[in-house]
Symmetry: C2
Subunit: 240 residues, 2 copies
């Protein structure tokens, strides 16, 4: 039987783990909101929303900073093992992915401000469609991650191909649009980079899915999805 | 006085830390070589080199996988503290950055294969110049990281602005080139993404510089460099 002293120690350790989990949940919620707002800003050409996304980005960075400190503290003082250790290490890595996701959202918002000063371009519709799919997958994978639900995470991971396919088709659409009307080159260049931002969010969501599997099972997924970005070949060449 | 048994334990712990350090050094060397080769492939329009870079990318992934496993093992079995803990956590995070660097090099190599099937475009010269600068900064920062030399790492970090400036000027150059000759739009789009790949390598080098500071001093650098990519404003608009 643990003494009252032991219980106190265990309680406090559990509290620290819970605090780390809550910080991750908060950070995940922020990043989801940032991405959704960035896509709304693009869709509605709303510069106020875009500006808010840019201004809110430091909040996500603060979350990452807190999680990093909390993780180092837990490792140093509590020396967690097994499930707890996997959870702590995954928190550290996932926080890095979530920070990058928010960064991509802020970057997309920043570019949307520039786009709002130019005439609209048609491929924006496909871009917004892709953005909404990625936002949906991100929400799903973050829920799975926080619940340590490997099965649900793997289901999301298997859908990243949809994102890649949309991205490749969007890349072709933008290229064609630029060629047909070279006056849209500047706007379309920004569109390309926003598309890339969103596609990268999908890759980070895949990373988080893989971490979820690691937390839940203790094993790594080695059968990496083979390719991330096939747009290099979108001009129909087959370089290898 | 430690007993023979204790010495054995300490010795083996030191060996494990050294093995982790050596794995990082090897991974760093591989990533440097991959980036240098990718830039050479672009410069010389050499598809053999580019293909080699793409084929060698899994080696870097294997290094990261080994480092991840070794890190989890060390944390679980040795519960390192203080300097050792910072070193182990930084190894885990740096391995992620180095893997991304190699990924960017492989992506640049892949796009160079496509570019080699099109007529050369003039902005490639500026791209190669930027690539060589980033490769130089990367080598410097990885040396500093492996030597835990905070001062040297900060010196590299302060030079990332040079990379960002080159990137912004290159972005303008590519846009202008496309507008003047819309037949180059496809080639120039790939060039833009390669430029972005190289600029991102510079950001990861900055991350590694900040980790070096953390290992050497135990403190985080909170005065984050304010902006990473100013190309959103390269058309002369001032969106905020």
């Amino acid at each position: 039987m643990p003494t009252i002293g032991d219980q106190h120690i265990v309680k406090s350790y559990d509290d620290e783990l819970k605090r780390l989990h809550d910080a991750l949940a908060r950070m995940a919620g922020l990043a989801e909101a940032q991405l959704a707002a960035a896509i709304e800003a693009l869709d509605k050409r709303d510069s106020d929303i875009a500006t808010r996304v840019m201004n809110d980005d430091p909040k996500v960075d603060e979350c990452e900073h807190f999680i990093n400190e909390q993780t180092v503290r837990l490792l140093a003082l509590r020396a967690p093992v097994a499930d707890d250790l996997r959870m702590v290490i995954s928190a550290l890595k996932a926080a890095g992915d979530i920070e990058r996701i928010a960064d991509h959202a802020a970057n997309a918002a920043k570019r949307s401000l520039v786009l709002n000063q130019m005439p609209p371009v048609a491929p924006m519709r496909s871009l917004v469609r892709m953005g909404k799919l990625v936002a949906e997958l991100l929400n799903e994978v973050l829920d799975a991650f926080l619940a340590h639900d490997a099965e649900r995470a793997l289901a999301v991971r298997s859908r990243d191909q949809e994102v890649d396919d949309l991205y490749s088709s969007l890349f072709r659409e933008i290229l064609t649009y630029m060629m047909e009307d070279p006056r849209t080159i500047t706007a379309c260049s920004h569109l390309m980079f926003i598309a890339k931002n969103i596609e990268r969010v999908g890759d980070h969501a895949t990373n988080i899915a893989e971490m979820t599997y690691f937390i839940a099972t203790g094993r790594s997924l080695n059968d990496q999805r083979p390719k991330r970005d096939t747009s290099a070949y979108e001009d129909g060449t087959s370089p290898v």
